[in-house]
């Protein structure tokens, strides 16, 4: 008879293993900035961002929004998924994986991009930072290590997930440049929109890029987790006289909507998470068609995208809407001629900057594409336990909903 297979060892568990196992006791991790954020969290209004304890708000979501638009707002983006992609073939690899032409992305530049599965459905969108000719950082909402590793077969490239190792901050708002300059990051004034550069921080460096998710003047900073607290403190001290405030996601979400930016798994469902096959979206169906570069050679999803374009199989379109009145139309159904259901609003708000009632919606073509007249949204506004049902006219408008000169002005304004 075969032998019972015994345990190899009963040696005491190593302290490192015990520490690694203990994560079940902390279901929501703190970020490297958590000690500072916890002190500022007056509302204790947390949500789960990819396994991290992240603030919806810290003291007042309305006023946090105005900090973005009037002063400088500090938002912790550490939970964002980050991959370090490095090697001789890193450029060719990313050119194969993502939609845009990575050969046009010079070292020291950032671009907003997206990537698809072989059926041409969007896996995610994100930002690609070119840190050197052979080194990149890809930031995204969801996780993609198996996809990236499988796509890397045949390329001389390494892909490493570095979400926990790298702390990230977004510093956004009109005084953000002045804060960085006063914090001693000499030369930051040279950064144009979508530029990045490394600056000394402690014994190492911080990567600062002129990027953001607000449509405003703003920067994003990435540093090793160990440097996080000193970076935070340095910004807070430098920004004290320029109104710097830490903010939560609700405020940021308003700013991004005004900027017309979309959020994965809020405005569209990513293909690795879509259980219902009809929820999958091609780039052309969520407003990302502009990224597709058919001249650059093969990339994942190219054939399917070409076929869908040729055979007119694109069924949806993502549009900006301006809706009459001032009642936000969040998750409202969109109608044609007040009767035919043609789509759904995924995000909506009254825009303080545009003084308009704005929304992002997904519509079934041809509505929103070639048929843009006579569109309506049905708003169910709950008021003291009664729905006030409103049928409001909606107009397809270009995104972004607001355009701020200070976002791109060079040199950046010194408020």
């Amino acid at each position: 008879m075969a032998q019972a297979i015994k345990k190899k060892s009963s040696a005491p568990t190593s302290p490192a293993r015990t520490a690694a196992q203990s994560h079940f006791r902390t279901l929501r991790l703190g970020t490297p900035f958590q000690p500072r954020i916890d002190v500022l969290a007056r509302t204790n209004d947390w949500y789960n961002w990819a396994g991290y304890r992240a603030p919806h708000s810290l003291w007042d979501e309305e006023l946090e929004y105005f900090a973005i638009r009037s002063q400088a707002a500090l938002f912790d983006i550490s939970p964002m998924t980050k991959y370090r992609i490095e090697g001789k073939d890193a450029e060719a690899f990313l050119n194969r994986v993502t939609l845009r032409d990575v050969t046009k992305l010079k070292p020291g530049r950032v671009h907003y991009t997206a990537w698809c599965d072989d059926e041409g459905f969007v896996l995610d969108d994100g930002t690609l930072f070119r840190l050197s000719p052979t080194r990149f950082r890809l930031c995204s909402q969801e996780r993609h290590l198996p996809w990236l590793l499988d796509s890397a077969i045949g390329f001389d490239v390494t892909v490493e997930e570095e979400t926990e190792a790298i702390a990230g901050l977004a510093l956004q708002g009109p005084t953000s440049f002045a804060v960085l300059r006063d914090a001693g990051f000499a030369g930051v004034e040279r950064l144009k929109i979508f530029d990045l550069a490394e600056f000394p921080l402690g014994g190492g460096t911080v990567t600062i890029s002129r990027t953001g998710f607000t449509g405003d003047l703003g920067y994003e900073l990435f540093a090793p987790a160990e440097q996080a607290i000193s970076l935070w403190d340095r910004l807070m001290v430098a920004g004290e006289l320029r109104g710097i405030r830490a903010i939560g996601y609700t405020a940021l979400n308003r700013a991004r909507l005004e900027a017309g930016l979309i959020v994965a798994n809020a405005d569209f469902v990513t293909s690795e998470h879509a259980i219902r096959a009809d929820r999958l979206r091609m780039p052309d169906e969520i407003g990302l068609g502009f990224m597709i570069d058919l001249e650059k050679g093969h990339f994942n999803g190219r054939r399917a995208i070409l076929e869908a374009r040729a055979k007119r199989k694109l069924r949806h379109v993502l549009v900006g809407l301006e809706i009459e009145g001032n009642i936000p139309a969040e998750h409202a159904i969109v109608y044609h001629r007040k009767s035919q259901e043609v789509g759904l609003v995924s995000a909506a708000m009254w825009s303080p900057m545009a003084k308009r009632n704005i929304a992002i919606a997904s519509l079934a073509r041809p509505f929103g594409d070639t048929m843009v007249d006579d569109l309506w949204v049905e708003i169910y506004a709950m008021r003291e336990l009664q729905y006030q049902r409103l049928m409001k006219r909606a107009k397809v408008v270009p995104r972004p909903f607001i355009k701020l000169d200070r976002r791109t002005a060079n040199p950046p304004a010194d408020f």
Partner: protein, 539 residues
């Protein structure tokens, strides 16, 4: 002599579900059960004072919520509690846990492979898509593809439409899922052995196949398509043990005016001129019935309870060849304290989940090799739970009931019948495996019930002790279950129906075969079925 409207042979969960629906349709129904208790393989028995065992089945997920609602089972005491994750202990003194929290689950997998940790979402998406495809089929009679009856054509069309509604990628996946081995299937998502072993166990439970045998991927799906109160794929404990399911069913049946006779073993089905007229008990007593429904498996029903001459040759041959091979055993243990696993922190939720010790695909397959050679596995695969960590009704405070499902155990040992010495040797292989990981385990044992296929067949009546009343391979599913041409709960004998897990959609404490059989019977009797909820929408 009184002629019952229907006689149900066997008081297992499907027999009772069937009886409940028939009784509620106005029939006068008798359930005859050979044991002096009802429950079949869903029982809770007190074999040692103070401890209730879930003697056979031990966890609950598949039982259809529509049936619980129709038959008012909560009113009769049924409560199902979700349990927390689980773990595979590894031989090098670590463990891989499954946590309910998505991010904790990912972090735990990342301890072994960052890639596999991030592969889980795609795996979960694909499995969920397949479950959503199958779920609506559970509560429908499988169509007969050779029939031209409008109803069969309609059902075939429904199936075809559902399949056509899948994307090309999903169709490919569906066909692969129904035919692949679980090992090959998991290779498409994961690279780490222990992570694959962790998922593969659902592909072999109750099946006389190894993780590398084609067809085992579907078995995994079968274990994922249940739910606990809308949480699809979740498993739970029935409060009071799995006997709570049949206790509630029996109470619901009695409340509706039904009659149960225990200690009433059926000798054979009374057949006159090709029609079932009742049953004859083992002691010779004759009970007349206008129709007979058998909750026994298809082999027991047609090879033991019906005379061969009443059955067509081809049907008989197919029943003989129906695969219902015994592959598992069960050990129920009363413990005077909670076992300790030094590798597992004392505050770990894993104590409240399912625990396993088979940390590689190869060990799992080797365990199956022993079965093929006619031996119980020297290094068995265990699915071990301690329900009393969440259910205070099954043991005194501080004491525990542990359920160990054990695989593999052959129906015969080296070609001969099991002996008591074999049974003890089988138990020792299990206890020694647990004791490897839990020092002092033996000293905590107060009482133990050891069940090899021999005991399961003798007590529950499941042929070879097969927990599903027939394997869940594609050749034995849908309109081929149990045999082609007889997949709609009827049999070659007029008025004799099947309602057990040998019929569509198969095994597990699901209740769907019993319910679907009742729907067919009521259709034949032209009785209304308004008291039977249709399947819940899958949206």
């Amino acid at each position: 002599m009184k002629a019952w409207d229907a006689i149900v042979i066997g008081g297992g969960h499907n027999g009772l579900v069937n009886a409940c629906y028939l009784q509620r349709a106005g029939l006068d129904v008798l359930v005859v059960e050979k044991n002096d208790w009802v429950g079949g393989a869903a029982t809770s028995r007190e074999l040692t004072p103070g401890f209730l065992y879930s003697n056979c089945s031990y966890v609950c997920s598949l039982f259809r919520p529509e049936i619980m609602r129709d038959l008012e089972l909560p009113r009769f005491g049924l409560q199902v509690i979700s349990y927390e994750g689980g773990a595979v202990f590894t031989r090098d003194g670590d463990y891989l846990a499954n946590y309910r929290d998505h991010d904790a689950h990912r972090r735990e997998f990342a301890r072994f492979s960052r890639r596999d940790a991030e592969a889980y979402d795609r795996y979960a998406r694909d499995v969920t898509r397949q479950c959503r495809f199958i779920q609506p089929l559970l509560m429908r009679t499988a169509p007969d593809p050779t029939s031209l009856r409008p109803r069969d054509l309609g059902e075939l069309l429904y199936l075809g439409k559902k399949f056509a509604g899948l994307s090309a990628e999903e169709m490919a996946l569906t066909l692969r899922f129904w035919t692949m081995s679980i090992s090959d299937f998991l290779d498409e998502y994961f690279e780490t052995d222990v992570i694959k072993a962790n998922f593969a166990l659902s592909g072999i439970i109750g099946t006389a196949l190894g993780p590398m045998s084609p067809g085992t991927a579907y078995v995994l799906l079968h274990h994922y398509m249940g739910e606990v109160d809308g949480s699809v794929g979740a498993w739970g404990y029935a409060r009071g043990g799995m006997g709570a399911v049949t206790k509630a069913l029996a109470a619901s049946f009695l409340a509706a005016g039904g009659t149960i006779r225990t200690s009433a073993e059926v000798g054979h089905v009374l057949v006159q001129r090709g029609k079932a007229k009742g049953v004859v008990l083992a002691d010779g007593e004759e009970i007349c019935g206008k129709l007979v429904v058998s909750n026994a498996d298809v082999k027991r029903t047609f090879l033991k309870l019906v005379e061969e001459k009443e059955l067509p040759d081809i049907f008989l041959r197919r029943v003989r060849n129906f695969k219902i091979r015994g592959s598992s055993g069960k050990i129920n243990i009363a413990l005077d304290s909670l076992p300790e696993f030094p590798e597992l922190p004392k505050d770990s939720p894993v104590y409240r989940g399912d625990m396993h010790f088979t940390d590689s695909m190869e060990r799992m397959e080797r365990a199956y090799d022993d079965w093929k050679a006619g031996r119980w596995s020297a290094d068995p695969f265990l699915d071990m739970v301690i329900p009393t960590t969440l259910d205070p009704t099954m043991a005194p405070p501080g004491k525990h009931f542990m359920s160990c499902f054990v695989q593999y155990a052959p129906p015969k040992v080296n070609g001969r019948d099991w002996t008591d010495a074999d049974r003890d040797g089988f138990a020792e292989s299990v206890i020694s495996q647990i004791a490897e990981y839990s020092p002092g385990f033996r000293d905590r044992i107060v009482h133990m019930e050891v069940r090899t296929p021999r005991e399961i067949e003798a007590e529950v009546g499941l042929t070879e002790g097969n927990i599903f009343q027939g394997e869940l391979t594609f050749d034995q599913l849908l309109f081929n279950r149990p045999v082609p041409g007889y997949a709609q709960y009827r049999s070659p004998v007029g008025g004799l129906y099947m309602c057990g897990s040998s019929t569509h959609p198969g095994g597990g404490v699901m209740g769907a075969p019993g319910r679907n059989a009742a729907a067919e019977i009521l259709r034949d009797l032209a009785k209304p079925t308004q008291h039977m909820s249709p399947a819940h929408d899958v949206i």
